[in-house]
Symmetry: C2
Subunit: 341 residues, 2 copies
Amino acid sequence: MPRPTIKTIAQETGLSIATVSKALNDSPQVRPQTRALVVAAAERVGYQLNMHGVQLRTGRTYQVAAIMTAPGPRQNEWEGVEYAQLLSGISWALEDSPYRVSLHAVRDFEESLAAIRQIVSLRKADGIIVSGTRADDPRVRIMQEADFPFVTYGTTLENAPHAFVDADNAQMIRHSVARLAGRGHRRIALVNPMAELSYAITRLDAYRKALETAGLSFDPALVAHGHLTPAFGRECVLAMSALPAPPTAYICANEASALGAFSGFHARGLVHGRDAVINATDDLNVSQYFAPPITTYFLPIHEPSELLGRYILRRMEGEAPEALQALIMPELIERSDDRLA
Amino acid sequence: MPRPTIKTIAQETGLSIATVSKALNDSPQVRPQTRALVVAAAERVGYQLNMHGVQLRTGRTYQVAAIMTAPGPRQNEWEGVEYAQLLSGISWALEDSPYRVSLHAVRDFEESLAAIRQIVSLRKADGIIVSGTRADDPRVRIMQEADFPFVTYGTTLENAPHAFVDADNAQMIRHSVARLAGRGHRRIALVNPMAELSYAITRLDAYRKALETAGLSFDPALVAHGHLTPAFGRECVLAMSALPAPPTAYICANEASALGAFSGFHARGLVHGRDAVINATDDLNVSQYFAPPITTYFLPIHEPSELLGRYILRRMEGEAPEALQALIMPELIERSDDRLA
DNA sequence: ACAATCAAGTTAAACGTTTTTATCGTGCGG
DNA sequence: CCGCACGATAAAAACGTTTAACTTGATTGT
């Protein structure tokens, strides 16, 4: 037997397909007892809405496009971005809605721009979730101009207000610098993400201000920008520890770079807690397994990701972007003393 | 102006929409010069195929469902499964096809079973990619019975032949055990995934046989099964190192558990290379940043994942599953001597 | 030379919905 | 008791595509 459609229900109940459709969509035009009849019949025949019909008729896709910038095949470095958790968080938030997550893997920023252009112009999705935001992000602009619903994971600095979710990087860095300064550190290194990323700027800014507040001077040699891989964390330590006045603390932007920093310590014969300390931002709580465990600002990834899902739903409902903005302050987990030896 | 359709092209060329459709689909019923005319017109008006129409008409979804079993919100442990890379590999393999990846995040095995049931019965996708296979996997059986195209990441042991991609676990373990035995180790521990998983069995089996070949006895106390998190790796070391005759080598099933094993070493005051060594299987090449770097069997995740994508395409084309099976032998990367001190 | 074949189109139906418009009783005010 | 509005349902069109069935004119075989 073929799959039942509203036509099946129409025959079953003696009503027209129009009424059946309205009944199933809770239209006020159909009276309760008729609706009950329809629902009962639908149940009986095992009716399931066929999305293809809906999509063709309404033009809606019921898809939320998740743009995932993953490193290309050459690149086998751990980036520490827990996309898996991010994606499942979004997916779960959409669970009770008719929306599904469709994946758009891109290799770099340019490709993500192209992908978004296509999605917007061809309406390949009803909403977009994108990460890796820049200070002035052309992708955001495209979506805004087309009045296309979207939420970013990460803020922008120069774009009109839009829906976003992000860790509160400024507060986190302020806190981190103040804490380390309070423990006697005077040379604090910042292992930062790629300079063009919005949160790199936010962090650098907060870092400079916090240094000033603590009465410490800013030294550009203690700041590095790059892909947050272990390789980068390692390089940073190798380079900075060779400075005439090496840092005594490293603030790493994620756990992958922190792991690399450890590797640099090992290569240089540095001992954590004696020669210098490492702090990190952590999505996975993996830093507790480092030897020794390090102090981190921990943000369980499922929080922002579920928020992304909920926000995109509300944004697609037409809610104003200003109401859909969240900065989440990660939780400080102190695992080492971190005092200057 | 509304988006151009085949109707637009029909008007533009003076042909019927049927001919236009056939021309665009390379039907032999339309002659080359007509096809050229149509293609030119399509180009001119900026025609893009509307999938909704196709989907409704043909019943095909042009979606490949990727079932992703991600740990729930409570669970914030690194599992070391690089789903991000896995998904992007699949996504890229489908890039030149009309297919897209749709994500189905599930919390556990039961949910994945339910998801697959639904996809198969409601035809919510044209193909399925699923991982975490069991020895006798009911999901595989469901898809086989429905003659639904699928590829598994991981083998099964008791199901009829199907398309799969996997690391060659047996060969890897055989090699690993032989190598360690050759370096003087007589107590080799196996940190294995959950016992019900197919590859846990494969690995255990190969492990026992390799021990026998090497003239070593099998000790169940040196085998542990669990979720491959750092926590588990740590536990294993804590427990096994307290045995009367502790192991001198640990074979970890992934880099997350290897990291945890290191954490266990640190807690027990064990020194890698002196008291015991750790070997691992590694998708990310992250083990090179451990302190010290360890020997791993490295399988760049993009290889199996792109293969998954290519296989599901071919499977959806109707190719026989027997032709779509791949066991990939990871590359040995020796980063430490590993000789028994 | 005429029927049969064939190539290259066209016509029309169909996929499953939603939504606009039309229909048809029924209750109501006047 | 008549016209009218209204409430509930039905009819029909539309979304964009594919494809089975049909048409037409040219080519072929005998």
